[in-house]
Amino acid sequence: MSAADLAVGHGVPTATEQPGRREAARGAAAMLPLMLGYAPFAMVLGAAIAAHADPAAGWAGIWLVLGGSAHLATLRALDDGSAWLAVATGLVVNARLIVYSASLSTVWRRHPGWFKAVGAALLIDPTWAVAQSRSGEPGTPADQRRFYLGAALTLSAGWCLMITAGMVVGARWSERLDLGVTVPLCLIALVGPRLVDRDLRPTVVAAAVVALVARGWPAGSGLLVAVVLGAAIGTVRRTSP
């Protein structure tokens, strides 16, 4: 075993075991408030799955799709009777994952293949945000992996439990609490410092305006326009004198 292996955490955990556990616990703790915020959405999705013609397939979609918006959009299109439209809709809504994945290619370059394969399976908006955020903090790649896996597994397990609860009890009680507002609050917490980055400001403003204007657009197409615009602004500002 080389020194490089030990440095990236391939070796048998010894003195670094406790810090490693702490990293996983930190990652899990970062996700707990966010799960509270996602509870209403999970309940709504659970209620939709329970009402679907094949609830078992709908439930399996939790792990297959691992994305609430795409899952719900697919489910609704299936309920309308069009399986191919459901596939197209689900894929369009999840197309933003291409951007998330590409942006992690540099951040995760030093990580082993198994982690990329597992990490990619759990990649979604909040886990992407914590991966980006953690990469800017001190620590070894092994610390980053433990933090990410702690966060992502907590989110996935909690997400599954909340949706299952929604299938049983329905969405009514969570709607009364109006917990939906905690979702943007948690996401802001994940990207907070970047919101004031002067370099990113035009991108943030443009994406916010597009998202407002395109709120009613179908199948997450507004999100895709915001992504394309954000990429274009990043490119233009690079090439401008």
Binding site: H52, A83, T106, A120, D178, V181, L185, L190, L195
Partner: protein
């Protein structure tokens, strides 16, 4: 496969979720692997970084401006505004969530009484 999807709705659901799941996994994995091996140019790296921030911003805005009565929308926007200020000042996620949610509940309650 088209005939199967159309004629057997139960199996159609399974097939649809499996295809969406596999496609989503390709979206999640392939750019990461290709980008890591080929290496992105500085311009492409910058574009991808901006695109990611744009996606997250769009998600925040679309979640912050819900479809609902004016009192709910106003309270939500106010709460997210306050949460943004707390975030910029370096507040923790818990603080941002608690403060923002408290503002939302208070503003929503007030707006419903006034309107």
């Amino acid at each position: 496969m088209s005939a199967v999807l159309a004629a057997v709705p139960v199996s159609g659901s399974w097939i649809a979720f499996v295809i969406v799941g596999l496609g989503s996994y390709v979206f999640r994995l392939v750019p990461m692997i290709v980008g890591g091996r080929v290496g992105l140019s500085p311009t492409a790296e910058r574009s991808v970084h901006h695109a990611g921030i744009a996606a997250l911003t769009a998600l925040i805005v679309s979640a912050a401006v819900p479809v609902g009565p004016a009192s709910q929308v106003g309270a939500s926007v106010l709460a997210v505004g306050v949460g943004t200020v707390v975030a910029i000042r370096g507040g923790s996620m818990l603080r941002i969530t608690v403060v923002g949610y408290a503002v939302f509940v208070a503003a929503h309650h007030l707006a419903e009484r006034v309107l």
